[in-house]
Subunit: 179 residues, 2 copies
């Protein structure tokens, strides 16, 4: 937020004060706000990821990624390039995620450079049984997408997921500050 | 890696083989390779984060971030803006991380757009006691940094961390592919 200090001279008196913006001045976007159509395109990618996941549609999922995209999943697996990302997703959607789905609850977007955006999605991720046999209960996930705008529109360049630990969340120092 | 298959005709015989690149051809950088000095600057930021963390030097840590940086930690806490990131880090470094340290084991960098890089760091993170009383044992972390180059050099625009689940890691479909 920019705050202007103005010098106002009235009848020979000088006052220093906080200037009010002119009433009909257009609202100035924050420096990291995406243009409306880019914001919509980025949200469409995030929505497309959910749709492809829930339909277990791997070709649709693959289209969302740059060729050199990378991905870190919530247990720290690290896949380099769209091919690896798709090998992993295909293997899991044939097995542990065969009937799995999730719901996107909130998406926050921002520009970090021209043609580069970050979207943070908060999701409700259904429970599943991991390949190692452990049961993962239904949980919130928080997923950072890094997207770039290329000749074919916005694509995912990088992504990382985390599971929200609801016990830890009660001790978030920022949440305490906000009280 | 690009592999060339060449047709070589010798004395009327045709052989198919793996071509060796001409000896004096300049090495072609991959499209997402950072220029050397940017790569070094990005690695300096990642190293600076470790140094500031281990020294619990909050002013040094703050200097690494863009003002509008965001951060998702490994338990899914989501901080918006450098001020929130610093409130959280300061609170934790006065308490649970007062004597904590970690070691960066590997860093992979790449450019995703002009002046925008992603660095993925794999770290050995010492154990600690969480504010909710739980003991977190020593573990590997995997941390994605998204960095932008501005007038003051490279800064962190976004970060997200995850703990590597070593049990799950044995079932990484990509690792299986690599065998």
């Amino acid at each position: 937020m920019t705050v202007l200090v103005s010098m106002i001279t009235i009848s020979g008196l000088t006052a220093v004060g906080w200037a009010q913006p002119p009433k009909h001045e257009p609202v100035k976007a924050s420096t990291n706000e995406l243009p409306r159509e880019d914001d919509q395109a980025v949200r469409n990618i995030v929505a497309g990821y959910e749709k492809a996941w829930n339909a277990h549609d791997m070709p649709a999922l693959a289209k969302l990624f740059c060729e050199d995209a990378q991905w870190v999943n919530k247990v720290g697996m690290y896949w380099r390039g769209r091919d690896e990302i798709m090998v992993a997703h295909t293997a899991f959607h044939e097995t542990i995620f065969k009937n799995h789905s999730y719901r996107t609850d909130a998406v926050e977007t921002r520009a970090i450079a021209p043609g580069v955006a970050v979207a943070v999605a908060t999701e409700t991720f259904d429970g599943f049984k991991a390949p190692d046999g452990r049961d993962w209960p239904k949980a919130r996930n928080r997923l950072s997408y890094v997207l770039v705008k290329g000749p074919d529109g916005w694509k995912i360049a990088h992504g990382q997921n985390a599971e929200v630990d609801e016990v830890a969340a009660k001790h978030d120092p920022v949440k305490k500050e906000r009280k």
